[in-house]
Amino acid sequence: MTAGLARPGWRMKRLSVLPGFGLTLGFALVYLSMIVLIPLAGVVWRSASLGWPEFWRIATDPRTLNALKISFGGAFIAALVNVVFGTLIAWVLVRYRFPGRRLIDAMVDLPFALPTAVAGIALATLYAPNGWIGSLFAPFGVKIAFTPLGILIALIFIGLPFVVRTVQPVMEEIDREVEEAAATLGADRPQTVWRVILPGLAPAILTGFALAFARAVGEYGSVIFIAGNIPYVSEIAPLLIVIRLEEYNYAAATAIASVMLAISFAVLLVINLIQAWSRRRFGYGS
């Protein structure tokens, strides 16, 4: 009765159909530590040297708070806008065949590849009051470049491919028959889209949102060219960090970074939990 001798609990050494668990997990941990964990821990460590009262003073400084509000608020709104129009673009690319489709498909990736500074300068030129697009809005008293609205434009620009590229493959997988089933049951097109297709895409849209949001929170290069960078009005948190660094105030810079890190982590964790829940519920990936 050897089975009786086997001790319960964790056993790392186990015969498995997928061998190499120990090796790959070890590699993953080391790699993640070197690339992600240690640098981020350094940020937190450095800001901890300030002591709690000083840290709290910097973190709750009105300029910091405003910068954080602009960064996270802007990222949130930009991600929302991208969810709507990114899904629309994905829909057009997946569902229709038209000349130039491949070209548009390739263009979606441009914000990935373009140096962000180039994007920022291009956007600033276009949306300035005397630019091509900006001049259309100027007569109505709407200023886009060098205002928070400009920040939004830049964040939308850099976040778009994330939504399109996460939603597109899932949309391609949608079973035509599910839509036909809805039609035979009497649902018209809007009902089918709202009640059958979009809920099915929700997990992918959420992932796209999370990626676009995360990317927008950390964006620096394109925003500073179009934002105007007025403290309390259009100054983003990453810019504030750079300003502190240029003042050799490393502790303050890392303090702001730590706050950003904490908020970002919390937001991404919540999104991940929602996804895990929806996966369990609807059996995606099972």
Partner: protein, 369 residues
Amino acid sequence: MDLSIRQVRKEFDHFAALEDVSLDIRSGELIALLGPSGSGKTTFLRLIAGLDMPTGGTILFGEEDASRKSVQERNVGFVFQSYALFRHMTVLDNVGFGLSVRKGAERIARAEIRRRALELLDLVQLSGLEKRYPHQLSGGQRQRVALARAMAIEPRVLLLDEPFGALDAQVRRELRRWLREIHDATGHTTVFVTHDQEEALELADRVVVMNNGRIEQVGAADDVYDRPVSPFVFGFIGESSNLPVRVENRQVWFDDRPLGLDAGDAAGGDALLYFRPHDVELLEGCGGCLAGTVAASRRVAETRRVELEIGVKRRRVEIEVPLDHPAASRSRIAFRPKRWRIFPNGGKSASTGMRHLERDANILAPTES
């Protein structure tokens, strides 16, 4: 709801998937569309549903022309082969979906939708599973949810595409019997598509045998099995063997020997002789019969299937030999079909003249009582 399909055609990019198909379905009938893959049976079903529009012809629901109506307006219950359940909805919401999308005067209160959905789940024996999601169900259960969902809208006709295709043999048999019970209880006019002849013959009131975008034969199980009107139907339904023969002087000839079969008024010339492996009479040597050398033999249930090579061209035919028959151990067997049919070789058009070609085997084989 009576259905009348008149001269319906469907072309996909100049390829005719369905050619001038006509069929009348009586209210409350259970119809099987049976055929090999590519025979147009699913296309036919989708045209009835309105999921595809016909290139020509009319489809009547009762007296009303439904040909140009949208799927939504036709009010048909369609069960897909993949079930196509909404996976983000519970079983209850899936079943109630068709009622919940109704608008205007037809709108139904939530409580009423719930009540009717629960009633249907009870009918399909899924009570207690209403809060589950589709991925938490077995294949057979999903199939029944799909059926309940289709029936919830009180469809004028129920259409099922390979309803048991994805299930294992055991579940198939159970669901088959169960579907027949549901049909008898609810009385929906039902059309289902299958490539499984056993399923079609057992379940349907009438079987529509399809091939190459055409209807070959429509009839009850006995009709299509005992009185097939074309070589295709003879070959597709049940076991069959065939031999190229010649018809001359009201006699059937094979390799210049008469077989002792009366060809009646069949047209002279090349023809195909069809018979079932079990419908043969074994003979002790013969002057006018078929004889061949045993090429292969296998045991199938209570009989032995013997493959014979016949004639100079070594045509292979299969016959059944009882286990205890002395012929089972021989290397050469002589036989004569007891029941058989002759179809002109190649010509499709002549199949109409086929009906009266059948000859009762008793005349030819007096030994059988």
